[in-house]
Amino acid sequence: MSRSLRGNAAIVGIGNTKRWNAPGRSPFDQLQEAAILALEDCGLGLKDVDGLFCAVSSSGLPVLNVAERLGLTVRHADGTMVGGASFLFHLQSAVSALEHGLCEVALICYGSNQLSAGGRLVSMPDPQPYEAAYKPRFPISSYALAAARHMYEFGTTRENLADVALAARAWANLNPDAFARGPLTREEILSSRMVSDPITRADCCLVTDGGAALVVTRADRARDLAKPPAYVLGTGVAVSHRQIAAMPDLTTTAAVESGRRAYAMAGIGPAEIDHVMVYDAFTITTLLFLEDLGFCPKGEGGAFISSGAIAPRGTLPVNTNGGGLSCNHPGMYGLFTIIEAVEQLRGACGERQIQGAEVALAHANGGVLSSQATAILGSAATL
């Protein structure tokens, strides 16, 4: 087991452009700004970066594009592309590369102009001929099929799903940087336009622009940098399919495996997590990941959520930035789960701050519940 990697690396710098609607800026503009912000955050410079990890929807050669623009001369790179979970795959890869001396300063970065470029998900050259002919709404119908099956097996309701969106909005209303703020009612969500049953417009994440970046170093170097390090206590990744028809069981995701690996490395379980970020591309994904990561039993996600547990003043703070549903969702949101987790561990979250947050779990999803990645981060007190 990879228990020996626990706490050996740390996230020392974070960059978030918070430019959710920025016409005239390309995905690489957003990415470069985030990279600069992340390096300035920890007091390092572009010349220090020797490991580059990135993925974007609009380019098949992101490492080359980013290295050229930022003038990086990297000796290690990883452009793994598994959708929105890519950046947590990158984090695991960076932890390993740092441990083995393949690089000293790892930069993980992303940028998107999804909203200002027209609001459509950039379609990658990855045709799926066995599904495309039936015209599922991509990617919504795949998640709708998972939601429908969950409702059938466990009696989950549209009201349960609406309560995910309500909790996200309540958190967003405490975050001045969230894109969607203001009052929202269960009735408004339930009467929102149906897109692919049972998923309505209000069950879907936002479409925004944005850029985010992390700087990761070994723990011994992290202690000398500008901000309190967020130590990487555990990581785990898993892949299960590409097309939704190939997912073995639509009610249980590979987050079970990624979570088990991350918990094992960190040496802790769900009861010891103070703060949770799960990729909420759709309301059903929050529910599935809370179950699969062990925060409630399988099939009880609906009741858990509708009890108010994940909303402000609930028992488990989840998606405290407002999530993909109400804060931002620039195409591939995964990196933003880490950004918020680090901010919470730093105690930098203002009105939405979780008092005494020492251990945070960030979980990201890619494709159509296809790739899953979990990271557990901790403050210095957890080492």
């Binding site: 066995y130 002919a133 039936y134 015209k135 599922p136 119908s141 099929l145 149906m194 049953d197 028809a245």
Partner: protein, 129 residues
């Protein structure tokens, strides 16, 4: 050429498409563990063996999950169908109101031309569910 004869001939996608064009709906079945798979590939999903045989499906199945896509041009069904042989595929259930398609519904395959040949499903005769 010293190629491996086990992989000679057209690839699995091409074999499947050609059969469908002739009105045959094929699945691959593993000669080692009997697992059926769809879509086609070079190895068994169950055990990893490359020794796969083609077989014609019964065309019978049941809806595993289902959604109605709400479209300006008209609503339509998208379903995942579990075939009797054990493989699962995306398709649609036709000839009934999309909203009446439900999980567990027994269905039968049809090949339609739209204009490319396509496997769709209709409710099975005598389905009382």
């Amino acid at each position: 050429m010293s190629t491996d004869p086990r992989f000679d001939g057209p690839g699995p996608d091409e074999t499947w498409r050609s059969a469908l064009a002739e009105g045959r709906f094929l699945l691959q079945q593993c000669r080692r563990c009997d697992t059926c798979r769809f879509p086609p590939a070079l190895v068994c999903r169950g055990c990893g063996s490359p020794d796969l045989a083609w077989k014609e499906t019964s065309g019978r199945g049941a809806v595993y999950s289902s959604t109605t896509v709400r479209d300006r041009e008209g609503n339509y069904n998208v379903s995942l169908v579990d075939l009797a042989e054990g493989a699962r595929m995306m398709s649609r259930v036709e000839s009934v109101d999309p909203d009446s398609v439900h999980i567990g519904m027994k269905v039968e395959a049809r090949i339609v031309h739209a204009p490319e040949p396509l496997v769709v499903f209709v409710p099975a005769k005598g389905d009382a569910s």
